[in-house]
């Protein structure tokens, strides 16, 4: 897979297996990404991140993955691969 130029951001929980799998897959694809463990945040910072995740995914589930303009809820390898390839 060729490295994508799209901005990739992953909202995760530090304890979540599906979040870990999502990050491992992105690393395997050798694409740069930013990730935030929402459960480790506190106070205003936490409120602000939760508001941000809710804009993309009102159910506030994890991982919430942004690849360019696309929002992928949960880790689905096929969907992530497709979004990276597009």
């Amino acid at each position: 897979m060729s490295p994508t130029q799209k901005r990739i951001k992953v909202f995760t929980l530090s304890t979540c297996i599906h979040c870990k799998k999502a990050k491992a897959y992105l690393s395997e694809c050798q694409v740069p990404y930013e990730s935030v463990d929402v459960d480790l945040m506190k106070g205003k910072e936490r409120e602000s991140i939760i508001a941000e995740v809710s804009r993309y995914n009102p159910r506030l589930t994890f991982p919430t993955i942004l690849i360019g303009e696309e929002v992928i809820v949960g880790f689905n390898e096929e969907k992530v691969k497709k979004a990276l390839d597009q």
Binding site: H18, L60, F62
Partner: protein, 111 residues
């Protein structure tokens, strides 16, 4: 308690309830490490795949096994996290899908 110790306890629990732990033991041990981390952090074993408030009363529905697990196992063969599964799921007799969140959005912790 270690994830391995919890694994033994929950294997017996799952069996007593008519379901099983996911056959992917490595994944299960990771989930259990998350559960134990939440217990250390909040004092209760809230689902490691959901955002907890840390307040027991608010997290009551997502204390593992969560109140949604039985319905998810019945419908999809697996709980939201993939910890508890049906025999058919472990035997690859049903399609493995990502489990949609059943928890009402208003219950998700905002604090």
């Amino acid at each position: 308690m270690t994830p391995e110790e919890l694994y033994l306890i929950l294997s017996r629990y799952a069996q007593s309830q008519g379901f099983q732990l996911n056959k992917d033991k490595e994944m299960v041990l990771e989930i259990l490490a998350g559960l134990l981390e939440n217990e250390r952090r909040y004092g209760h074993r809230s689902c490691p795949c959901r955002l907890a408030s840390g307040v027991r009363e608010e997290d009551r529905d997502i204390i593992c096994p969560c109140v949604y697990s039985r319905q998810d196992i019945a419908e999809y063969g697996s709980c939201f996290c993939g910890l508890y599964v049906s025999g058919a799921w472990n035997e690859d007799q049903i399609e493995k899908v990502s489990i949609p969140e059943r928890r009402p959005p208003r219950k998700v912790a905002l604090q």
